[in-house]
């Protein structure tokens, strides 16, 4: 009897809380997407079925996790299934080709990454950003200069001075040869007035193995994004000398930009949603509108805070212009660094 009264007492507030939460939650979820959906419905006949979102990189990686988050949110907004499909291989060529070759009605979209503006310069494919319809850029992570915590250089200028005095002695890594962080190395060297090969590039499978090499003493410098190196930086085993962005990062307010240190150069790995060239205008408009809402939602902010990825929004027109600009920049650096065939 005593037990049951106690149980009832315990249950009552729980039930009340549930009812309140249910009403609040129901009201919230009922109105919010509808408002977003109604405001964005530029193409009333879209979507007619499930949408396929192609990811040119492997499951479990950074691009994959961003794509899966955006895909989930987009599914709610469009009220249809969004199937995230990984098409890997060929340094991203296979997946990007699959996006470009997809149906133009908006049923095939994908997560385009910075590699799209590099692969054709490298001679891997004829595919360029022109074969895509830009829909919206969702994320960007700038390159950095990360060295071992006990390295003798207090800032970027000291490091560059060391490189200038001892060309070829400094070894850097972060990606494979011709990868985005290799370009960060070459581009920053050129911008600092150094020959592009004055820092030697040791190819690695990505930022994590490069960081391990850095800590183990196999290399002196990682040009990968600070996000990718954050665990070791926070653990005090590596230190960041600079970030290759226009402004300091909110997560690393003490790390100055390269520009502040006298080298006017930025480089970042970006990701955005794109479809095959020639998508109908209203569909692009609708998708872009949904992406705008997703990117500026508190859920996305929470996701970024958890993963450390950086927010960078560009709408369809802005993303298209940005890709063209990026393509030209990458071509210049790759030619100068001898990374083109």
């Amino acid at each position: 009897m005593l037990m049951s009264r106690r149980a009832r007492m315990a249950i009552l507030p729980a039930v009340l809380a549930l009812v309140v939460a249910g009403c609040g939650g129901g009201g919230g979820t009922g109105s919010a997407p509808q408002a977003a959906g109604a405001g964005c419905d530029a193409a009333p006949n879209y979507p007619r079925g499930p949408v396929e979102m192609i990811v040119p990189w492997a499951a479990g990686g950074g691009t994959d996790s961003v794509a899966r988050f955006v895909g989930d949110q987009l599914a709610k907004k469009l009220d249809t299934q969004v199937n995230v499909v990984n098409r890997t291989g060929g340094s991203g060529v296979v997946g990007h080709s699959a996006i470009a070759a997809g149906r133009k009605d908006g049923s095939v979209i994908g997560m385009a990454t910075v590699e799209l503006t590099m692969m054709h310069w490298q001679g891997l494919t004829d595919l360029t950003y022109e074969k895509f319809t830009a829909i919206g850029m969702v994320n960007s992570d700038p390159a950095g200069l990360t060295v071992r915590a006990d390295a003798p250089w207090p800032d970027a200028q000291a490091l560059l001075g060391h490189v200038r005095a001892n060309p070829g002695a400094t070894r850097a890594s972060g990606t494979g040869r011709g990868g985005i962080w290799d370009l960060a190395r070459a581009g920053a060297s050129i911008a600092a007035g150094l020959p592009p090969d004055s820092i030697r590039w040791v190819p690695s499978e990505g930022a994590a193995p490069a960081l391990q090499e850095l800590v183990a003493g196999g290399i002196e410098l990682s040009t990968a994004s600070l996000v990718e190196n954050q665990t070791m930086i926070h653990a005090g085993r590596a230190k960041a000398l600079a970030v290759m962005a226009d402004e300091r990062l909110a997560k690393f307010p003490d790390v100055p930009t390269l520009k502040e240190q006298g080298v006017d150069f930025t480089m970042s790995a970006w990701r955005g949603i794109a479809g095959p060239a020639g998508m109908p205008e209203p569909v692009v408009k609708e998708l872009s509108c949904h992406l705008d809402a997703i990117v500026h939602s508190p859920e996305y902010a929470e996701f970024l805070a958890k993963t450390g990825f950086g927010l960078a929004w560009r709408d369809a027109a802005g993303f298209g212009a940005f890709m063209a600009e990026q393509d030209a920049q990458k071509g210049q650096i790759m030619k100068a660094a001898g990374l083109t065939p």
Binding site: G60, G89, G90, R177
Partner: protein
């Protein structure tokens, strides 16, 4: 640690996981019992299902299935003189002759209990050795990884079955295929002939599905085996005799498990090789060695080699999980499945994914205990198992091959790769080339190249570093030892001859050719 163990135990209570384990156990017994259908093939056919599962159930499905399949390979060995999987080939002759002499239940009982013991010992090797090795491997750099991969390549040829020249050719073929696509170090495209599809290279899972799955179908269609005459066995009193026999040959149990555990840890060498080596060792050591493979056959090699293959199966997970370098062909597929699921094997796995690892350990124990009742039922029903008509089986295998190849990257090109490697696998086997080295070449080629290039670029071509770093030097010495192993072996006293004529059924190449060569 206790916390991780508790988490793993909790995850074990998941009904999906238990269902997966049970279903895959039955599936493994079925595939293993059918001559020609290997545990590798069974794993390859599991791929499309593994994709829908979480990492732990996916690994569990492969562990359970392969353990059962390796045991079930003993069934047709004893009943129709055809090894169900290559891992049983070493003692097929003895198992069959014993069955003919009326000891069928005993042979299979010994095979079953010995397999379960072997599996658990192998799991203990994994549980003890892997974390210690992982701790050690954290200090590995590209030099050490280079040598571990070279060791795997060497072992796959030197300890493989059949002619070493053919093994080496098969390995080189695999290495050649592994160079297709974008070069791992410098980013140039190779052998792509301007095709964007080839830029991605030849993905090894579709290649393996073709090599082991489709090629078997081709062989079956082109060379049908006809009706099998299945020997009858009575299982009354089986377990009593089994335990008595195992106790009598307990030295064989110990040596088989030790050999199996050690060979499994070696990258590139798996259960079939462990069984051959254990067979040879038992024969050399036994006073009754001259009776092996003749007359009524002998149960002792079934005891030792039968545990060795299961023990190696489990300990092959050591290099796979610690270095990301597969211990055998089954773990090569497992590696691919893990990568697709975003789980990157390597020493970091032991700190970041401890619950998953404890789950894997527990699954090994569960699977091998489950083998006892399921295996007993399989022995009882073995007559029916062996009578499944190929006309039903082969189309199903083809369907699974196609689906599995497609599932890896959602593209048709992988299906083409699977078909091409199916044809290649058929031709290679037809002319006596082993298939495992092709796979190891394909998997290890990029690892060797990448680590070599990284090392030399780091040091500006200072090759001495490969020899002067202590761990690197030790690994090099082990590699050289494996390389000269055949010469060492010919120095050993050889009191044996005619190592089982029926053993060459599974592969066109038996042990005989190699021993004489």
């Amino acid at each position: 640690m206790a916390q991780d163990l508790a988490a793993a135990l909790a995850s074990l209570a998941d009904p999906t996981l238990l269902l997966v384990v049970l279903a895959c156990g039955v599936y493994g017994l079925f595939i293993g019992a059918i001559p020609g259908l290997t545990a590798t093939l069974a794993t390859a056919l599991l791929v499309p299902f593994a994709y829908f599962l979480d990492p732990l159930p996916a690994v569990a499905s492969i562990i359970t299935m392969s353990a059962m399949a390796i045991f079930a390979g003993d069934l047709p060995s004893a009943l129709v003189r055809m090894p169900g999987t290559p891992a049983s080939a070493a003692y097929t002759e003895d198992a069959y002759r014993q069955t003919q002499a009326g000891h069928g239940a005993l042979v299979l009982g010994v095979g079953l209990v010995g397999s379960a013991i072997g599996g658990i010992v192998g799991a203990v090797v994994l549980i003890v050795a892997a974390p210690a090795l992982a701790e050690f491997a954290l200090t590995f750099t590209s030099y050490e990884y280079f040598w571990v991969a070279v060791l795997g390549l060497t072992a796959s040829v030197i300890i493989s079955q059949g002619s070493q020249v053919k093994g080496a050719i098969a390995l080189l073929l695999g290495l050649l295929f592994s160079t297709v696509g974008i070069d791992v170090a410098l980013g140039y495209s190779r052998f792509t002939f301007g095709s964007e599809l080839l830029l991605a290279g030849i993905s090894f899972i579709p290649a393996m599905i073709g090599l082991f799955g489709l090629s078997e179908v081709l062989r079956n269609v082109l060379h049908p085996t006809g009706r099998l005459r299945v020997a009858r066995i009575r299982t009354a009193g089986m377990f009593r005799d089994t335990f008595r026999t195992l106790w009598r040959y307990r030295k064989g149990v110990v040596s088989g498990n030790l050999i199996g555990g050690a060979i499994g840890v070696l990258p590139g060498a798996g259960g079939d090789i462990a069984a051959w080596v254990s067979y040879a060792a038992t024969k050399n050591a036994s006073r009754e060695g001259h009776l092996f493979g003749k007359g009524e056959g002998h149960v002792e090699p079934v005891v030792s080699a039968g545990s060795a293959n299961n023990s190696a199966l489990a300990s092959a997970y050591v290099p796979t999980l610690v270095f990301g370098i597969p211990g055998d062909t089954i773990t090569a597929i497992l590696l691919g499945v893990l990568l697709v699921k975003g789980v990157q094997p390597g020493p970091e796995l032991f700190s970041t994914q401890a619950p998953l690892l404890y789950g894997i350990y527990l699954i090994f124990i569960v699977a091998n205990l489950l083998m006892l009742p399921l295996g007993y039922l399989a022995i009882r029903g073995s007559g029916q198992l062996l009578r499944v008509p190929p006309g039903v089986l082969m189309p199903i295998i083809i369907a699974f091959c196609v689906v599995g190849a497609f599932a890896i990257n959602n593209g048709w090109f992988e299906i083409v790769v699977m078909l091409a490697f199916g044809l290649l696998g058929y031709l290679l086997e037809r002319y006596g080339f082993p298939l495992a080295p092709v796979v190891l070449g394909l998997v290890l080629g990029p690892i060797v190249e990448k680590n070599f290039m990284q090392s030399v670029i780091k040091t500006d071509w200072d090759l001495l570093q490969f020899l002067t770093r202590p761990v690197s030097a030790i690994l090099m010495i082990v590699t050289v030892l494996v390389l000269v192993y055949p010469m060492l072996r010919s120095v050993w006293p050889r009191r044996r001859r005619g190592t089982g004529a029926g053993a060459g059924v599974e592969r066109a190449v038996g042990p005989d050719g190699r021993d004489e060569a």
